[in-house]
């Protein structure tokens, strides 16, 4: 049984963990509310076969679900499995599937082996919050775009077999990533300015978000340093207070040491907030933007496919024309058949391309509305954490003031 550190409880109870989403369907104006939380990490099994199970709790008024309030136990690979299923079904037709939370072999091994130290606790907490954000992301994505059975997949109380991320599965995901990296060398004749503009916009956003993320990671690091230095100073102030022979001053110095100790704890908490509320958020959005870029790339691929079939058709037609002058009726018929097939393919290609373009437009505008709202709410939560810290500081220093004044 896992031992929970109280520090992490404070994060579970923070409002950010309980997002209440109200998503409006663009066409219908229906509002779906769904409220998901991931909690209670529990170690199941022993040794290398052990895994962490998380409780996924859903509260919803969406008619799709048979119940309003239910929870299931899922493990991390379930989430990955879900992502790979969704990605394979929806990515190529233009839906922005939120990227899967990151898998870390090292962290997981530590947990399996039972190392219940600070870093493995942190790892579990990180993962739990990542899964929660992921789930929220999934829910938004799916609810507002396609009220499908897929939704049932994740949230039904029945244990659904989406687990066991096979080696094939991992390989597929790696390949997908590699594909994205081997940057598109496709030159597309963009007839639609909207796409060009949006693509550029997302490129820039990506660059800026990465920079922001890096800065925030720096901030987290420095705040942790500050906490350590404050703790050290508190100790030295206490020693100074002990050495001081003037009674009132000695007491005041000891009080100062206590205040600084409390402030050290504040800095630690703030560093955690910096991390969980801000840094991880940015990290998620960086990955999300990559997914968006991926969707644009998919469109290009679709276009390419269409163009390829068109070129092939053209070639076949030329071949047909040539064959007209030769006396090879069989070959001619074969070519005619092939042309028919290719014509069909070209038409399909065009339809696919138009469909994906349409879907992307919808997805992007949904993204811009919902994600931005979501991002803004998270930032507000972070700012609230900063406010909390300031409030505590005021309390501590105001308590110290009379002690300092009492020195005579």
């Amino acid at each position: 049984m896992f031992v929970h550190l109280s520090a992490f409880y404070s994060y579970r109870s923070l409002p950010f963990c309980r997002f209440f989403l109200q998503i409006e369907e663009e066409e219908g104006g229906d509002s779906f509310d769904i409220h998901i939380s991931v909690s209670d990490p529990e170690k199941v099994g022993d040794g290398m076969n052990a895994y962490m199970a998380y409780k996924v709790t859903t509260k919803t008024s969406v008619a799709l679900f048979r119940q309003r309030d239910f929870s299931v136990k899922r493990r991390f690979s379930d989430f990955l499995g879900l992502h790979s299923k969704l990605a394979s079904k929806y990515l190529h037709i233009g839906y922005i599937v939120p990227p899967a939370p990151e898998k870390s072999i090292v962290g997981m091994t530590k947990v399996k082996v039972g190392k219940e130290d600070q870093s493995s606790n942190e790892f579990v907490e990180r993962r739990r919050s990542a899964l929660e954000r992921y789930d929220e992301g999934q829910a938004t994505a799916m609810l507002s775009s396609y009220k499908h059975l897929k939704l049932k997949l994740i949230l039904l109380p029945r244990a659904v077999n989406t687990q066991a991320l096979s080696s094939a599965g991992i390989l597929r995901m790696v390949n997908k990533a590699a594909e994205a990296v081997n940057k598109m060398t496709i030159k597309m004749n963009e007839s639609d300015a909207w796409f060009e503009e949006k693509q550029q916009h997302f490129e820039n956003l990506d660059a800026q978000l990465r920079k922001l993320h890096a800065s925030v990671e720096c901030l987290v690091c420095h705040r942790k340093e500050l906490s350590v230095n404050t703790a050290q100073f508190a100790k030295s102030a206490a020693m100074l207070g002990n050495s001081e022979d003037h009674t009132a001053l000695s007491r005041a110095l000891s009080q100062l040491a206590e205040v600084e100790e409390k402030i050290d704890q504040l800095h630690q908490d703030q560093a955690n907030a910096d991390f969980y509320l801000f840094s991880e958020l940015l990290g998620d959005y960086v990955r999300l933007i990559s997914a968006v870029k991926g969707v644009f790339d998919q469109r290009m691929k679709t276009w390419q496919k269409w163009q390829d079939s068109q070129m092939l058709l053209q070639k076949k037609r030329e071949a047909e024309a040539k064959l007209q002058f030769t006396n090879k009726p069989d070959k001619l018929q074969q070519t005619k058949d092939e042309i028919k097939e290719l014509e069909g393919r070209v038409q399909q290609g065009e339809r696919d391309f138009e469909q994906i373009s349409k879907t992307i437009r919808k997805e992007v505008s949904r993204f811009e509305k919902d994600r931005v709202k979501d991002f803004k709410m998270s930032i507000v939560k972070y700012l609230e954490s900063l406010v909390q810290t300031q409030q505590q500081l005021i309390k501590y220093w105001e308590a110290f003031l009379p002690e300092a004044k009492a020195i005579s």
Partner: protein
């Protein structure tokens, strides 16, 4: 390069407290000029004492002049029983200068925003160092002027009044004393102080206390400095963050929402970190604490020096006793030895008497200074936190109300 005038200077509260409310000799440093490494202070004196030629006058002085004054006071036998105020430390612009250099090198990798902000930040740091050094030199002179014995010192008067370059006089003085006393003090003070058998309870207590307190305050100063540096790093991070947010908001985007909230976030961070910057220059809380500790660390060293001198005097006295005994045995130069012994005893007694007074005063002064600075620091912390809170809450309202 950068000058510093009355309007500009915020009356920085000094870490040292004047227990003597005597207005007969008022000294301050209203102006200072910084050229490369050299800082030129304008020392301004206002006096009602007849020993000075004019009632009000100003002279330009360099850091080395202050050191000269301090050293001559230390080396004056008559002042052996006094705590000589610690010499002001050399103006140290190394840190901001190094950072400025690094900033110049990294200019290509930053946006214009970021560069300007960081530059401003560095200039503020530079100014802070400058203000600090002026203050520390001022405090040194003010402590001298408030001391009943030291304020009457001839060299002190020369320092205040002599309207020509002191460097010539400085050279002569160095040749005369040759830094004799200083060298001695540096080598074996702790051992000597610890080794001498103490007859007086008061001094025994003081000795134990000062030795221990010194090491503790040194430690506390070092840790406080580390804390201050961490705060500075965080402020720099905020600057970088706000610059990035600014670029984000400047993004030409058809997405209205992203721009709006980024701008607001940017404004928030900018104001919060601007406050931090302002805070650092004028009245930074942690800096205050660090300054307080650093100053008293030096002051306690000066008190230890007094104990050392007294210990040496005691050693001399004991030696003279032995010499007298030897002389009596031999029957030679007895009266000489008696004279010597009497002188040693006298010296030791005067030292002890004035030393006791000085150390008692020192404690009182230290307690008052600590109180003043701790109170000020706590008040500033509260004020700063309240400001930040208002700013942040305003921002939250703006963002939520969207």
């Amino acid at each position: 390069m950068s000058s510093f005038d009355e309007n500009n200077k915020e009356r920085l509260r000094s870490v040292s407290v004047d227990l003597n409310n005597d207005a007969s000799l008022l000294i301050d440093i209203p102006d200072a000029l910084c050229e490369r490494d050299k800082v030129k202070f304008t020392v301004h004196t206002k006096t009602t004492l007849s020993s000075f030629q004019k009632p009000e006058f100003s002279v330009p002085r360099q850091h080395e002049d202050f050191i000269w004054l301090h050293d001559t006071l230390v080396e004056t036998e008559d002042y052996a029983g006094l705590i000589i105020p610690p010499a002001p430390p050399k103006p140290d612009f190394e840190s901001p200068r190094e950072k400025m250099h690094k900033l110049g090198e990294g200019e290509a990798t930053m946006t214009k925003e970021e560069y300007t902000k960081m530059k401003q930040e560095l200039e503020a740091e530079y100014l802070a160092v400058f203000k600090k050094t002026v203050q520390v030199h001022e405090v040194f002179l003010q402590r001298l002027s408030s001391h009943p014995v030291l304020s009457k010192d001839r060299n002190f008067q020369i320092f205040l009044e002599y309207d020509q370059d002191l460097s010539v006089r400085r050279k002569n003085a160095k040749e005369m004393f040759g830094g004799f006393f200083k060298n001695m003090v540096k080598s074996a003070d702790e051992v000597l102080i610890a080794g001498v058998k103490e007859v007086d309870d008061f001094f025994e207590q003081e000795k134990t206390f000062l030795l221990d307190y010194f090491s503790k305050i040194k430690e506390a100063t070092a840790k406080a400095e580390k804390m201050t540096r961490s705060h500075k790093n965080i402020a720099d991070d905020y600057i970088r963050l706000s610059a990035t947010l600014n670029s984000l908001s400047a993004e030409e985007s058809t997405n209205y929402y992203i721009i709006k909230f980024c701008l607001k976030l940017f404004q928030n961070f900018l104001r919060v970190c601007l406050k931090k910057v302002e805070g650092r220059v004028a009245s930074d809380e942690e800096l205050k604490l660090t300054e307080l500790l650093r100053y008293y660390m030096r002051d306690i060293q000066a008190a230890k020096d007094l104990l050392y001198r007294r210990a040496r005097a005691l050693a001399d006295y004991e030696n003279s006793n032995k010499a007298l005994d030897k002389a009596r045995l031999k029957g030679k130069d007895v009266s000489q030895a008696e004279e010597h012994q009497k002188r040693c005893l006298q010296k030791f007694d005067t030292l002890s008497e004035s030393g006791k007074k000085e150390l008692t005063n020192f404690k009182a002064r230290r307690v008052v200074a600590f109180r003043k600075n701790l109170v000020e620091m706590a008040e500033l912390e509260v004020k700063h936190a309240k400001n930040n809170m208002t700013l942040l809450q305003g921002c939250i309202e703006l963002l939520s109300g969207n």
